[in-house]
Amino acid sequence: MEERLEQALAFANYKQTLNNQLQKLKIRTEGMLIFAKNGGHFTINRELICFLDYLNKNETTEATLLDDNNTPVLIADVADFLKEITRRYLEVTTDYLREYKEISKSRNVKSILDLKDE
């Protein structure tokens, strides 16, 4: 095979692996952002945090929210729930950033996957 073509294919493989690994990391992060509460489960995102913050600032202590399956769930202590999900969001996204940076700076397939020589 011509050398230039070989290099191009190697680069394509590298890019595919990189994107794939980043996507798997994103999906894992999404999983870790799912929070179970009172029989429902909620995906923690900025919208949920902002809405709870709005309720909290309006001194709403108790609220019914629709969870990921559109099931109504009573949140008895809005402030406490807000605190819990914000903490989880920050922990998970901090880890996400660290791993994202590690993968992004890798320059070949082996280092993307952090494979050691056997």
Binding site: N13, N20, I27, R28, G31, A36, N69, T71, L113
Partner: protein, 292 residues
Amino acid sequence: MYAHNNSEIDYLKIACANALMVQKNLGVPVTLVTDEGTLGWGKKALGEEFINSCFETVVELKRDYLFNNPRNFSDTSFSTKQLQFYNCNHWEAYELSPYDETLFIDCDYLIMSSALNNCWGSDHEVMIDHRIFSPADDKRPYTKYIDDFGVRLYWATVIYFKKTEFAKSLFLMVKHIQENYRYYKDLYVFSNGMFRNDNAFSVAIHTLNGFVETTDSVVGNLPIPGLLMSWDVDDIHSIPGIDDIVLYSEKSKNKGTYLLCRLKKTDVHIMNKWSINRFSDRLIELYKKESM
């Protein structure tokens, strides 16, 4: 967890490995449903004490040796064999489960995270998922619906259920579909004659949804982004450590070429049974140490 061996695949060994993974990541007891032949072989090969350390309860069923359900088992795109597939009676799980809340998992759905712990205490009586993704980005569209007419395909790989009347009726419906599988196969145009739990659950849910596709399904989605499916054309490259696996994932448009994909703390369904059999000793060794 179900484990019924066939002439080449040691499901029991895979189940033992996965039970140790469940103990480590979910911290809940595991019940095994198996048959006398599989268990007898397992006791000889792995030791009775070890099997008892993996499972809280072992339910031994009488195997129907006349049951004929051939299935193609692939070990990557290069090798396919037709073997018996006996791990069928998922509907029995409702009756056999000794628990108020149960997570039924296929023994080849490796539990490498605590994500499914979000199920416990759910308002839903049954949770089962239709959302799937692959270790490589290539998605296979035929895995989304059971036929060309659009009945959504639910994957009976992981099922959460409570002991309630609704859950009971769903499992009875699945039993009915299994008993009349040829009729439902023609009605919903299943792609082949082999019995699949996925098809039976999909049709049962479709029926209980009033024969319509609805966003307000009678069953909930699992509290995960979807099921990660490593197909039978994929292979395991290595298992570097606890909750860490490297897969060869075949590129769907380029048979026999692979993307390497490393998964950490992510549950994954390994459909290439041969590959998981090759690595079950490694898994047992790793997770046994962890549980000691």
